[in-house]
C-alpha cells in the first residue's frame, strides 16, 4: 500500500473503496502531515480536526452499511478561507470578517461533501483574494514548499501549498485574475479555472463577480477532472451559471496528434524570464513532437489586459465590499458614535492596505465624472480582448503560453510596489476577462539543481471547452510528466 502523500485523490478514493485503508485513517494521515508541516508553511488558517474525523468515520460506517461510494469517497480536501461551510470560520484572511461563521454552505462545497470528500480546514489567502503572493493576508505569509523564502503565489496561496506539500491531494481556490493558475504554476501542481459560469458562485465570498470562478488544485490532471465533474453544473442559486451539463470527467483522454495549438507572441515578451521562456518553449516543442500542429496566433490587446482587469475588478470589488460596515458581521469599531462614523471606523480598522487601495481605485473609476472614461472604457476593451480570442479560436483548438512571467519570486520582493505585483498577473488576466477555461499544468523546472522552482504551462480554450482544455492538459502531462514532489525541507538559497 502506497503512503498517503504519494497518492492522488483518484487513487486514494479507489484505495479506500477497495478496503485497503479507511476514510478515517486517510483523514488522520492528512491531519498528521498538516501537523508536521503547517507551522513552517502556514497553508491552513484553521483545521477542523474533530469535525473531519467524525465526517470520515460516518463515511466508513455508511460504506460498511452498503452505501455506494461517491467519486471522492474519503478524500481530504482543503477550502480557501473565502468559501462558506456552515459553522466554519470564513474570514477571507481579513480582520473585518474575523470570527464570521456562515449560516449556510456553498453549493460547490456541498457537492464535494455529497461526493464523499472530507473538508479538513480553511486555507490562508491574500485578504479578500486581492494579491498574488499571500503577503496581503491579515494572518501571516504562506511559504512555498520548494523554497520557503519564496511566495507560493496567490491569492489562493494556502490551498496551493496544502496540495503541493502533501497535506491534502486536492483543494479549492478561487480564480479572479489568476489566483489559482499562478500559485499552481509556482508550486508545481495543476490549477484549473473553468469557463465563467461553469461552477456556481453561491457561497463564495464575492470579489469581482463577473470574474470570480471556483477552481480546483490537484496533483494530477485526472483529479482536476474528477473535482470538476463533482462541482460543476447549473445551480438555481447563482443566475450567472451557464446552462450546461457538469464537466464530463471522461474528458481527460484526449490526444495531442492533430490538435491545433495557437502560440501568441504577445505572451513571450522580451522581458519574459529567460528560463521560463526556455521551459515553456520546450513544452510546446514536446506537444509538437506528439503530433500537435503549432500555429502562431495574435492577441494584440494582451498588453492592455492588466489595466483593463484592474479597473473592472476593483470597480466590482468596491461595490461588493461595501457590505462590510460593522452591521451584519465582523467586529465593529464605534468611531465618533454616529452611523457614518461607525461605518468608516469599522472599515478603517478592518481592511488591510491593499484592500483599501483597491476599494479606493474601484470607487474612483466608478465615480461621477470618471465613470465613462475609466470603467466604461475598460468594459469596451474587455470586449476587444474577448473578441480577439474568438478570432484566434477560429484557427486553433487551444492557446498555449506561460502561466506566469517568472517562477516563484522572493517574499518581500514586490510587496512594496503594487504595480510590480499587478504585473505578475499579466498572463492570467486575459482568460479571466474573456471568461475562458484555462489550465496550468507543470511543464518543468528552472534554477540550479539543488534549488529548483517549478514552471507552469497554461492551456486556454474557447468558452465551454472545459473538457478539451482538461484533455489537452492531461495528454501533455502523460507525454511529459513534470510532476514531482518538493523536497521535504526547503531552506532555499537564502
Amino acid at each position: 500500500m502506497s503512503a498517503y502523500e504519494e497518492l492522488d485523490a483518484t487513487a486514494l478514493a479507489e484505495s479506500i473503496v477497495r478496503g485497503e485503508r479507511t476514510a478515517e485513517e486517510t483523514t488522520a494521515d492528512a491531519l498528521r502531515v498538516i501537523d508536521e508541516r503547517n507551522d513552517e508553511l502556514f497553508a491552513f488558517v484553521s483545521v477542523d480536526r474533530e469535525g473531519a474525523l467524525a465526517r470520515a468515520r460516518a463515511l466508513d460506517e455508511r460504506r460498511a452499511a452498503g452505501e455506494a461510494p461517491g467519486p471522492l469517497h474519503g478524500v481530504p480536501v482543503a477550502l480557501k478561507a473565502n468559501m462558506c461551510l456552515a459553522g466554519a470560520e470564513v474570514s477571507c484572511a481579513s480582520k473585518i470578517l474575523a470570527g464570521y461563521r456562515p449560516p449556510y454552505t456553498a453549493t460547490f462545497v456541498q457537492r464535494l461533501i455529497d461526493a464523499g470528500a472530507v473538508p479538513v480546514g480553511m486555507t490562508n489567502m491574500d485578504e479578500f483574494a486581492m494579491g498574488s503572493s499571500s503577503e496581503n493576508s491579515a494572518f501571516g505569509v504562506t511559504r512555498n514548499p520548494w523554497d520557503v523564502t519564496r511566495t507560493p503565489g496567490g491569492s489562493s496561496s494556502g490551498s496551493a501549498v496544502a496540495v503541493a506539500s502533501g497535506m491534502v491531494p486536492i483543494a479549492l481556490g478561487s480564480d479572479t485574475g489568476g489566483s489559482v493558475r499562478q500559485p499552481a504554476a509556482m508550486c508545481g501542481i495543476v490549477g484549473y479555472k473553468p469557463t465563467y459560469g461553469r461552477v456556481s458562485r453561491y457561497g463564495l465570498v464575492a470579489f469581482g463577480s463577473s470574474l470570480d470562478q471556483v477552481s480546483p488544485f490537484a496533483r494530477s490532471t485526472r483529479d482536476a477532472c474528477r473535482v470538476m465533474e463533482v462541482i460543476s453544473g447549473p445551480d438555481e442559486l447563482d443566475s450567472t451559471c451557464v446552462d450546461a451539463p457538469p464537466v464530463a470527467a471522461g474528458a481527460g483522454t484526449g490526444a495531442l496528434a492533430g490538435l491545433r495549438v495557437g502560440v501568441p507572441p504577445e505572451y513571450f515578451p522580451d522581458d519574459l524570464d529567460a528560463d521560463v521562456r526556455a521551459c515553456v518553449e520546450a513544452a510546446i516543442e514536446a506537444m509538437r513532437a506528439k503530433g500537435a500542429e503549432i500555429v502562431p496566433v495574435s492577441l494584440p490587446h494582451t498588453d492592455v489586459a492588466i489595466p483593463t482587469y484592474y479597473v473592472v475588478a476593483t470597480a466590482e470589488a468596491s461595490s461588493n465590499l461595501a457590505r462590510y460596515d460593522g452591521v451584519r458581521y465582523g467586529p465593529r469599531a464605534e468611531g465618533d458614535g454616529t452611523l457614518q462614523g461607525m461605518f468608516a471606523a469599522t472599515r478603517d480598522a478592518g481592511f488591510g492596505d491593499e484592500v483599501k487601495r483597491r476599494i479606493l481605485l474601484g470607487t474612483y473609476v466608478l465615480s461621477s465624472g470618471y465613470h465613462e472614461a475609466w470603467y466604461g472604457r475598460a468594459l469596451r476593451v474587455r470586449r476587444l480582448l474577448a473578441d480577439e480570442f474568438d478570432v484566434a479560436f477560429q484557427e486553433v483548438d487551444v492557446v498555449a503560453c506561460p502561466t506566469a512571467p517568472t517562477a516563484a519570486f522572493s517574499l518581500g520582493e514586490k510587496s512594496a510596489d503594487p504595480v510590480a505585483m499587478y504585473l505578475s498577473d499579466t498572463m492570467t488576466v486575459p482568460a479571466s476577462l474573456a471568461g475562458l477555461p484555462a489550465c496550468s499544468v507543470p511543464c518543468g523546472f528552472v534554477g540550479a539543481r539543488d534549488a529548483q522552482l517549478p514552471v507552469g504551462l497554461q492551456v486556454i480554450g474557447r468558452p465551454l471547452a472545459d473538457e478539451l482544455v482538461l484533455a489537452v492538459a492531461r495528454a501533455f502531462e502523460a507525454a511529459t510528466d513534470h510532476r514531482r514532489r518538493p523536497p521535504r525541507s526547503a531552506g532555499g538559497a537564502a
Partner: protein, 99 residues
Amino acid sequence: MDSPELEIVKRTAALARLEITDAEARTLAPQFARILAQFQVLTSVDVEGVEPMTGATRLADVTRADEPRASLPRAATLANAPDERDGFYGVPKTIGGGS
C-alpha cells in the same frame, strides 16, 4: 494646499466610507497616481463602436418564477451581528439627536 492626487484620495475615501488618516492619504496618493498613470494606456485603445462587455458570459437575463420560498432562520442570520437587539441589527441612533 493638497496635491491633486491627495485631494482625489481624500474625496474618494469619503465616497468609499473609508476613514483614512492624513499619513495614510500621503502614502496612498503617489501610489494612486502611479497606478492611474499605468492605466492611462487604456486611452490609446480605439473603442469606437465597441459595445461594453458587462459580464463574462453571453447569457441573456436569467429569471425564475417569483414564488416565496424558505429563507435562512432569523436567529442564524443574526448570529454574526456585532450588535443584535431583539431580533434586529442594532446601529447607532440616526434621528432625533445629531447625525
